[in-house]
């Protein structure tokens, strides 16, 4: 439980209307490791991620603890948890430019020039240099997915949660984005928790697989 950078789930139980969906899940995700949780829809896997970022629907009864980098985050508000999440939709804020979206992820307190430099660096990493002023609606699906990941990473999360983030992409694009996301996450040494129902995702992640439901 020391600050070793890992994400630990401790006896997590998810129940809805008296029916137990997940019973006593124990899980440890080491930095740079990708753990895949697989299960059919309705198995509570998305709820598990929502609970980890502190936004679970109160209709669910959830017990257990989550520890990230030695800190018990179970009762922290979402914005203090430092848990990044990607959904199957990129959810780029449509009222902000690409640069504005990335800037929303950056911590406050940086100077204007520093912010712009960080944003441009992130765009370079996403292989989209000079895109800061663009309207996100004009980007392709793959470009949007890369920007969404960069936005999440700019907030300097200590763990990354992936809620079926590749399921909306077409097959050719899926492999590339998968490599892009996994590569950046392991490069930064983030513990990654991936929920999916696609066996290809689990295979590509290459880490342990947990079946629920």
């Amino acid at each position: 439980m020391s600050g070793d950078g890992s994400l630990v789930l401790d006896g997590v139980t998810v129940a809805l209307d008296g029916a137990t969906l997940i019973a006593g899940l124990d899980l440890a995700v080491a930095p740079g490791e990708i753990v895949t949780v697989m299960g059919p829809s309705g198995s509570g896997k998305s709820t598990l991620l929502a609970w980890l970022c502190g936004a679970a629907d109160p209709a669910f009864r959830i017990a257990g603890r989550a520890v990230l980098d030695g800190v018990d985050i179970t009762r922290l508000p979402p914005e203090a948890r430092r848990v990044g999440i990607l959904f199957q939709d990129d959810l780029l804020f449509p009222h902000l430019s690409v640069g504005g979206n990335l800037g929303f992820g950056l911590p406050a307190g940086l100077g204007r020039a520093a912010r712009e430099a960080r944003i441009e660096a992130a765009l370079e990493e996403a292989e989209l240099p000079g895109f800061a002023g663009r309207d996100p609606a004009t980007l392709s699906g793959g470009q949007r997915a890369r920007i969404a990941l960069m936005r999440t990473l700019l907030a300097a999360p200590k763990a990354l949660l992936l809620d079926e983030p590749f399921s909306r992409l077409d097959a050719a694009l899926r492999d590339r984005i998968r490599c892009f996301v996994f590569g950046h996450a392991t490069e930064r040494g983030l513990p990654v928790l991936l929920v999916t129902h696609d066996p290809d995702d689990a295979r590509a992640a290459g880490g342990p697989v947990v079946e629920i439901g």
């Binding site: 970022c53 449509p94 992820g105 996100p136 999440t152």
Partner: protein
């Protein structure tokens, strides 16, 4: 802080309704210490029923109210069932906003300009067809049966019901349901009534009740379009309330109580009829008829809807033309001399009511939007969504007849020394602005994908920052639209100004009503047109501002109202 907003909101607008009802019913039973009424008695009611022509007033109220509500509902259902998913619906949708924006009084005046003996309708067919060399001596608007009032109400209620039904249709799988039914051999309108209406009805029930309640208790439109000897009950009660003979207050209170009971009873009767219709409808559905002769119905429904929109828009045009007419002789279709002189002459007289109208409307709409945003944001942060019962509370000020509780509100204001102040006026308007603002904003706000907020929170943004930087900008369009709705409602309010203003404030609406009784059409045209112009301006801004701000954000097109 945020936690208290829902409670504060309820207190601000349900408190007065409840207190207002008490404050109306007590004098109706003789209790009004300020005027020496200390002993409970039935004398006000006995006096009320000795009023000459009371039965005529009640009959007028019931016939016009039910006729207006039923005709409006029938028109909307017939049109939407016959034309679902076709061009006419798109056209109507586009023309909806200008008609919705126009205050009731302006619609009434516009209709009177069209239908009166010297109005456009008579001019168009005279003298070549009618032989009328002078405006005929007929009572058309107002007429003795209240037909003009029913027409005016229909012009105003049809767009409202259309808006509510279209919104409800967007929330049910109407297209797919209809496609399935039609593939089973049902005609389009029959399929709509048999499969779509049952889905939509629960969502439009309260708006329909609100329309019925409004039509039964309308005052401002009745003052323009209803017969005056005697008038329907609601305007008659207002006349008693404004009688210099203060003892009339007791009769007025009893009349307001009767008005309240009439509305409650009418809603009860309607509810019963609704259940009967539902039973018959179930049998009709089970019988499996596929419908026939729909073509004629479709043409009739489309034509009738076209007539409503045409007459509504022509009325607006008529006011505009009168406001710039210098000389307009019978039976010319257009003025022979045009001039902006009417506006110039009225400029000074317009300034003060205009300022009151705009300042009160802005203040009421701003307060309402702040309270509604507070309620909705609180609801999302606490994950407590109010059930369908809460909707009844929101509709309460729209269902209770205004005249039934505004007198009580006035008594409250007098007791607290607030009557006749600007703040009291704002508060009086807020009662009616708030529900509409809530209805306009709640849907779009709740529909925003909550994962946007969750994503922003996970990026380290505080809930406050998420509200100001993500939700509010993303929902700017519906927020400004709701603001414009609130502004338009306030601009059109008549009774709240009369009661809360303590006679010290005039708005464009109160001026238009008092001018409409006698006066010069050129002057009425100026007031009515300006009164219609203000809300229209509000809606234009509400659409233009986000369109301009987000001109380079294509994705924002999906976040409309």
């Amino acid at each position: 802080m945020l936690r208290w907003v829902p409670a504060l909101t309820l207190l601000l607008f349900l408190g007065p309704v409840a207190a207002g009802l008490v404050g109306t019913f007590l004098p109706a039973f003789g209790i009004l210490p300020a005027l020496g009424g200390t002993e409970p008695s039935l004398a006000p009611w006995r006096l009320l029923f000795t009023m000459p022509g009371l039965d005529t007033s009640i009959r007028l109220t019931l016939t016009t109210g039910f006729a207006a509500a039923l005709v409006s509902l029938a028109l909307v259902l017939a049109f939407l069932s016959a034309c679902h998913g076709t061009r006419p619906v798109l056209v109507v949708r586009r023309l909806l906003a200008p008609l919705l924006a126009v205050p009731h009084v302006a619609v009434a005046i516009g209709f009177a300009f069209l239908a009166s003996p010297s109005g456009w309708a008579a001019r168009a067919v005279s003298p070549w067809l009618t032989g009328w060399e002078r405006p005929p001596d007929l009572a058309t608007a107002p007429d003795p049966y209240g037909i003009a009032l029913v027409c005016g109400l229909v012009l105003k209620e049809v767009p409202f019901l259309l808006l509510m039904t279209l919104a409800a249709l967007g929330q049910v799988p109407a297209d797919r349901t209809l496609a399935v039914a039609r593939s089973l051999g049902y005609g389009p309108a029959t399929a709509w009534f048999k499969t779509v209406l049952p889905l939509v009805w629960p969502q439009i029930r309260l708006p329909v009740y609100a329309v019925l309640a409004y039509s039964l208790s309308v005052v401002d439109m009745a003052l323009v379009l209803a017969p005056g000897t005697p008038p329907p009950l609601a305007p008659r009660v207002l006349r008693w309330f404004s009688d210099p003979d203060l003892s009339r207050q007791f009769v007025a209170a009893a009349g307001a109580g009767l008005q309240f009971l009439l509305v409650i009873g009418a809603i009860g009767v309607f509810h019963g009829a609704e259940r009967l219709a539902a039973g018959l409808g179930r049998r009709w559905i089970a019988a499996g008829g596929r419908g026939h002769g729909e073509r004629g119905g479709r043409i009739a429904a489309t034509g009738a809807m076209g007539l409503v929109f045409g007459v509504g828009l022509l009325g607006m045009l008529g006011m505009a033309v009168w406001s710039v007419a210098r000389r307009w002789r019978w039976p010319d279709l257009l003025p022979s001399v045009w001039s902006p002189g009417n506006w110039a002459r009225q400029a000074e007289a317009l300034a003060w009511p205009g300022w009151t109208t705009v300042s009160v409307a802005l203040a009421a709409a701003a307060i309402a939007i702040a309270l509604v945003l507070g309620c909705l944001e609180n609801e999302q942060r606490t994950h407590v969504t109010p059930g369908s019962r809460a909707l009844w509370l929101i509709y309460a000020p729209l269902l209770a007849p205004q005249i039934g509780f505004l007198f009580g509100v006035q008594v409250l204001l007098v007791v607290s020394g607030l009557d006749g102040r600007w703040a009291a006026l704002v508060w009086g308007h807020l009662l009616f602005v708030l529900p509409y603002v809530f209805l306009a904003l709640a849907g779009p706000w709740r529909r925003l994908d909550e994962r946007y907020a969750r994503t922003a929170l996970c990026l380290g943004a505080s809930p406050g920052r998420v509200f100001w930087r993500i939700k509010l900008p993303m929902l700017l369009r519906p927020v400004l639209f709701a603001l414009a709705v609130g502004f338009a409602v306030s601009v059109g309010e008549y009774l709240p100004t009369v009661f809360a203003g303590g006679g010290r404030f005039a708005t464009l609406t109160t001026e238009a009503v008092s001018l409409a009784a006698g006066g010069d059409r050129r002057v009425i045209g100026v007031y009515a047109f300006l009164q219609a112009l203000l809300p229209w301006l509000g809606f234009t801004l509400a659409i233009a501002i986000p369109a301009w701000l987000y001109r380079q954000r294509r994705g924002m097109k999906d976040f409309s109202v």
